[in-house]
Amino acid sequence: MDILIYGTVNSVIYALIAVGFTLVYGVSRIPNFAHGSIYVLVGFLTWTFLKNLHIPYGIAIVLSLFLATLIGLIIYRLVLIRLRGLPTSEIIASFAVSLIILEGLRMQGIAGFKGFIGPFYMLPPFVDGKVRILGVFVDYQRIIIVAACFALVVLLWVFTHYTKMGLSLRAIAQDEHAAMMLGIHSDRTAMTALSVGSALAGLAAVLILPLGNITAEMGYKVLIYALAVCIIGGLGSWAGAVLASFVIGFAMKISTALFGAMWESVVLVGTIILILLLKPSGLLGKQKELEERV
């Protein structure tokens, strides 16, 4: 029972982390390596607003999500727009942006900035307390995460299927040239995708971070989980991403229960290698294997 409930919670967390990355990649074919760093940045921004500037929690969250959207926009407008269609440069550039943000957060001694180092940055949970579900104690924050994730998936589905902006995102993802002929601006759409993706990373951050400390190193971990989910599920496939996060979530939870927490990452690597060997395009990858990936 323990495994079932906490496995579900963990899986939902991975899905939440990966959903922004999948969105950006699915639409603009840009692997947003800055995903993890935006996640951490939003955490620290919210913390700063909350603790240093004494802004109420709700407003602080909204403000930092807004900033995350803005950062996504800036990254696209300043850097990635010049590199569209050069996959190698896109990877390297977004990787560089990610490192600038992450290592910049750890930087010390410039203009009295102390750097976010050490384990004493925490966001308070939205609602304190625990509840007993089927004999297992679960705190409210985890329940909020699960609920928020389901709401988010539904919202995103509505957004991509029924709004004009969402439909144009999907159109660009399916056939860029045809979409451009119908008057959909390719760059503007990709910019939207990147800022929405960044906002999703930020949303994941404010939901998940109250469960633990914020550290800059987490950026790499988050990025890895997002990438792992996308590789296992098949890049650009929504259902695949959700399925993969459940596979990873349960695989890691079960292995922890059986062998101990230290085997978690070994199991993750093993799963990735196994999937790559058996089905290179991922569980539900839509790419035709011969043309796109092999």
Partner: protein, 336 residues
């Protein structure tokens, strides 16, 4: 509306055209024209250490390691089409194997380094084999994850010295052997790779980069060739790692650190992708620069990411291609 009325016209220098064939051997000027850039690099590298003090010689050693990684990255990215963001994995594999052999079996560095180079390359290649069926960003993503996973696994199992690593390994006998060992290996790999990419194998590799289906249709196994290419790149990386652990007499999880993944990439982009020598040049510029900024701590990484970003956005051809153009061509403005 007045359109652009001037444009830059580039023409090959006549001496470049003349030196392209075998006839270059017929005049001293032409031989010199061909040999000069290579001689400047070789003798420059071999002579620099004589004019530096102890500390900066160490820096040149580190630059040599980064140069090897940059060569590997450039070779894989531009000639095989595999963008490998996990250079640190090669360093870590080589460094750990060599260091452990030295610490537990007590073998001297000159035995450990070759063994670690070979076995580390075999291991890294084996680990990357499942990912080789991917290409483009898929491979980049997969290769990016491996060094980070290696760190988690070492920390989690607290194997091989855990987070603290193992210190007091044997170092190389003296500084001159240290520095000329790495410089020699850099030069050999550089000219070896340049030869390789112009042989038949290089042609096939470039074919794989441009159109792998066509190569497959010609009855050539692309996976086999990719494995060979990755093996060559990881040989250089693992040598760098094995050498590094004996240079500082220490091994630890920072061998898998982000520095070893990002600095070679920055060096390659700065020097010019696809030129091979550009990466070496970039490493020789960037490493001393980052060493001079050691006092700034994490700002170093931020700084060379900025350099990387500026180069890739505004000057994607890099230093070396620019100099090559100036060397081989002259430019005139002409009216249109």
């Amino acid at each position: 509306m007045k359109a652009e009325s001037r444009r830059k016209k580039r023409l090959d220098r006549s001496i470049k055209v003349r030196t392209e064939g075998l006839y270059a051997l017929s005049s001293w000027a032409e031989i010199l024209y061909l040999v000069l850039p290579r001689a400047v690099l070789i003798f420059g590298l071999l002579l620099i250490p004589l004019f530096l003090d102890m500390y900066w010689r160490r820096v040149i050693c580190a630059a040599g390691i980064y140069a090897l990684l940059a060569l590997g990255f450039d070779f894989l990215a531009e000639f095989v089409g595999l963008v490998c963001l996990g250079g640190a994995f090669f360093i870590g594999a080589g460094g750990y194997i060599s260091g452990l052999l030295n610490a537990y079996a007590g073998w001297p560095p000159f035995v450990c380094i070759p063994i670690a180079t070979l076995s580390g390359a075999v291991i890294s290649t084996l680990i990357l084999v499942p990912a080789l069926r991917l290409r483009g960003i898929y491979f980049a993503i997969a290769s990016f994850m491996f060094p980070l996973f290696a760190v988690y696994i070492i920390i989690a199992l607290s194997a091989f010295g855990g987070t603290e690593g193992i210190s007091a390994l044997d170092t190389l006998p003296n500084q001159w052997s240290e520095i000329y060992l790495i410089l020699g290996v850099v030069l050999i790999s550089l000219f070896g790779l340049r030869r390789l990419v112009n042989e038949d194998m290089g042609l096939i590799l470039r074919g794989i980069k441009d159109n792998d289906q066509a190569v497959r249709a010609s009855g050539i196994s692309i996976t086999a060739y990719k494995i060979k290419a990755v093996f060559i790149a990881s040989l250089m990386g693992c040598f760098g790692g094995a050498y590094l652990s004996h240079l500082y007499g220490w091994l630890g999880i920072s061998l898998f650190g982000m520095d070893f993944s990002i600095l070679p990439i920055a060096a390659t982009v700065m020097g010019g992708m696809g030129t091979l020598a550009g990466g070496v040049l970039g490493a020789l510029i960037l490493t001393p620069l980052s060493e001079a900024l050691r006092g700034f701590g994490q700002l170093r990484v931020v700084l060379y990411c900025f350099i990387l970003l500026l180069f890739i956005v505004y000057k994607p051809e890099g230093f070396l291609s620019y100099f090559q153009r100036k060397y081989h061509q002259f430019e005139v403005w002409e009216e249109v």
